[in-house]
Symmetry: C2
Subunit: 490 residues, 2 copies
């Protein structure tokens, strides 16, 4: 099996053919990764931080080349992709800064207590170390921020792990170019050989996640693919943590008090819904609005004016179209469509399905099937109780939103209903747009995440790859010697 880039705007193949990485090649990549981990995990955190800075700079220096090839492969547009590269290097620098400040990696000292059992205890020094070589699966929808050098790679490298990356087949050239730039930058900055490696092909991914030398996995993508990898990771003789983001149907609730400007609200909704052709894990998949609200009319009018954007790949379009057909078949929806596609390329008309809350209460699949693309479901409700009930029946979500005036008496109840099924609740803001910051939480109950306790965005993401080791009663001089001995190996 081999793969080649496809221009989603035209459907045409272009550029080099990437042969699937062979099992032999994979074996040697992982062997190198293990060696690199042994060195890297003992490099002082501040030094790792400096090397990450050099990495970020090398990517920024090649911004235009990266954006150009990614635009051809993904059709996401140069404006968005330029922003995404910036986000990617900002992310790497955030981890670098956190390491510089000693966050996450400073040992915590629990001094000896000389008292009666069980209160008495010896001195404990609680440290953390990189868990080991990590398998990272590039995502289709973020060719930079969740791919080769995305948040998973940045946080794993910051933690002291080496990484083995599987390129996403929808943008192999972008993956390869990013990797080549990164490899050179890491080498020049003094990182160990083999700290990052890249492979191509479906079989490669399966072999990597089941390799006993791999200590963790991170994935952003489809529910079917992610679950298959999760199952492989958990059924190993030695199971490993697998941080998967498998899709999310994100609810947005608007109450009357927020809908003072229906036209503007409808426009903002469509902006969020159609951002990146709707291929966002934080897409506002289901919008709850009061029955009879003029917002629905506004949406139905405005969607007709929206431009078409290509899907990331034919596979993405086909999955979207088939899921949308299922939703249409299972609901009694009023359907509003945008412009219809014409000619070549991977396009589908944007669509909003308007359903009644009482109808989806009977047949929930209309609001549980993820249509990863330019499709939104608008649920009209009679009273807030209907919304709370439907939210309690939905699957776990990454993000959710409430639009309400700050003094609206229904706000606490609705916020709580959203918090009980999602990892982030935005107030008077759309769920798309995930800031890279310490307070971020990008992870929710399954299937949003395979581990709802962890975030994949923001500096806390490093905790996914840090294994604690506590030293009991260890003299300071040995701990210091331990540090310098192991750093010398480098």
């Amino acid at each position: 099996m081999s793969n080649q880039s496809v221009n989603p705007r035209t459907g045409e193949k272009f550029g080099p053919v990437f042969a699937a990485t062979t099992p032999q090649a994979m074996d040697s990549l992982i062997a190198q990764s293990v060696s690199a981990y042994k060195v890297w995990s003992h490099v002082k955190a501040a030094e790792r931080g400096k090397i990450l800075l050099a990495l970020a700079q090398a990517i920024d220096d090649r911004l235009q080349d990266l954006v150009d090839i990614a635009d051809l492969e993904t059709g996401l547009g140069k404006v968005r992709l330029t922003g995404e590269v910036g986000r990617t290097t900002f992310q790497i620098r955030s981890f670098s800064n956190a390491l510089e400040r000693g966050e996450f990696v400073t040992p915590s000292l629990d001094e000896a207590v000389d008292a009666a059992v069980p209160q008495g205890h010896p001195k404990f020094l609680r440290t953390t170390r990189g868990i080991g070589p990590v398998a990272i699966f590039g995502a289709s929808n973020f060719p930079f921020a969740f791919s080769t050098l995305g948040g998973d790679t940045a946080s794993a490298l910051a933690a002291g792990c080496s990484v083995v990356i599987k390129a996403h087949p929808a943008h192999p050239q972008t993956a390869q170019l990013t990797f080549d730039i990164a490899k050179k930058a890491l080498q020049e900055a003094g990182a160990p050989e083999g700290l990052i490696s890249l492979g191509h092909g479906f079989e490669f991914g399966k072999l990597v996640i089941t390799d006993p030398r791999i200590s963790a996995g991170a994935f952003t993508g489809s529910r079917a693919g992610g679950r298959a990898l999760f199952d492989l990771a958990q059924s190993r003789e030695y199971p490993i943590p697998f941080y998967g983001e498998l899709g999310s149907v994100n609810p947005v609730v608007a109450v009357e008090s927020a809908l003072t400007d229906p036209a503007a609200f409808a426009g903002a909704y469509l902006d969020s819904l159609l951002m990146g052709n709707g291929q966002f894990c934080t897409n506002p998949s289901v919008l709850f609005v009061p029955a009879g609200s003029i917002v629905v009319n506004e949406i139905s009018k405005q969607i007709a004016q929206r431009d078409l954007a290509p899907f990331l790949s034919e596979a993405t379009k086909n999955l979207h179209d088939s899921n949308r057909a299922k939703v249409i078949a299972s609901t009694k929806a009023e359907i509003y469509e945008g412009k219809a596609p014409s000619g070549a390329g991977f396009f589908s008309a944007p669509m909003v399905l308007v359903v009644k809350a009482s109808d989806v209460t009977r047949e929930i699949s209309g609001i549980t099937e993820e249509c990863f693309g330019p499709t939104g479901v608008v649920v009209t409700y009679g009273h807030h109780g209907e919304v709370v009930e439907l939210l309690s029946k939905m699957e776990g979500a990454l993000a959710s939103s409430l639009f309400a005036s700050a003094s609206d008496s229904s706000a606490p109840t609705l916020i709580e209903a959203l918090a009980s099924m999602s990892g982030r609740v935005a107030f008077n803001a759309w769920p798309t747009g995930v800031a890279v910051t310490a307070g971020q939480h990008h992870g929710g109950p399954y299937p949003a995440s395979t581990s709802s306790l962890h975030t994949s965005v923001g500096t806390q993401a490093i905790n996914r790859f840090l294994r604690p080791v506590t030293f009991q009663g260890l003299p300071d001089e040995i701990y210091s010697a331990l540090q310098s001995t192991t750093t010398k190996e480098k």
Copy 2:
């Protein structure tokens, strides 16, 4: 299926027969647990802490009754069991104090940054909440500290979770009495009905861990049983975190500089090895000593004087005996035995197997098979490189030790070799004895733990059951209203 207590000192059954909890009864326990969770997870942390204090006091008040029945069921002895009750209530109070201080549960505020994208971001309030109802499996070897009200239950309750406990069949009366005391105390302290529940039977455990209303599981026990439950938890439609401690072969390394008093060292080794009849997850399973050390002679002499102690159950004895037979068959060991059992009850002679490092390098099973009981393997080594190599081949361990003088030049290398395969490295201390404190880490690479990132002992254990939820741009007044609204539900 039903079960009845067995006195391990005599092999005789006694006391009431506990019927297996039926699927119908389980269904209603879990329904109650869900209701209790909804209330409890919103009770203010300090209030939860107060209720935990009342719980600890109620247990302390019944110390003697608890110790008496546990001693009959487990044969662990009243001195040890008295200490274990103290440890258990200390553990509950530790979580209470942590909640009182606001640890783990105080939201962290990430103020808005009004700057250029991607650095700019809205205000984030990162909170945590109990993940949901938790299934907890009582352990055979700690009838208090890792059972009904052990560390798993204490940390889950502290986190705001309800718990559904499966009693261990080796001490059903202890489990039931502890539960009855706890239920009454919780009720009197104002906790919601159904916050804790208890069931009996193997099938009950399987049904609970696969019930879609259960959000996490915690287990301490055998590798086979723990892995089976882990597999059930991971293969659910909605997988859940499963924190299993599945057994650990803990290495202890002694270098020449530490062996200035061989007789005392041998005595301390046997104390640790035979504590609780060797039925400790932190048992010093494999001791590395320099070839030709007089310590081996001391061990061989002293083991003959050691008293017999009963196994926790016939099943534990049988598993131990069969694993020990495997180790004997697979190694060319010199064997030193303690007193032989006579008469009824579940006893086996304590035993130390002495093998050469070069022999176990060829056939590793001698140091990878856990003999959960009074059996130790002593490996004699020619040089430290042999020890490092063998450690790199061993499975993950909970704990490890190095005995060396603080100035021994080999210490850093050996400490690092131990740290790379275990969760806690003790210096000049035996691995048994796990302090309940903030710096503790009781968790290691699989099979020591199914999640090496988490500890099951010490206050950090609460993190296993806390799910983050970030509120973005939420006005303070709504957050406050959210708190008080939801607490009022109680």
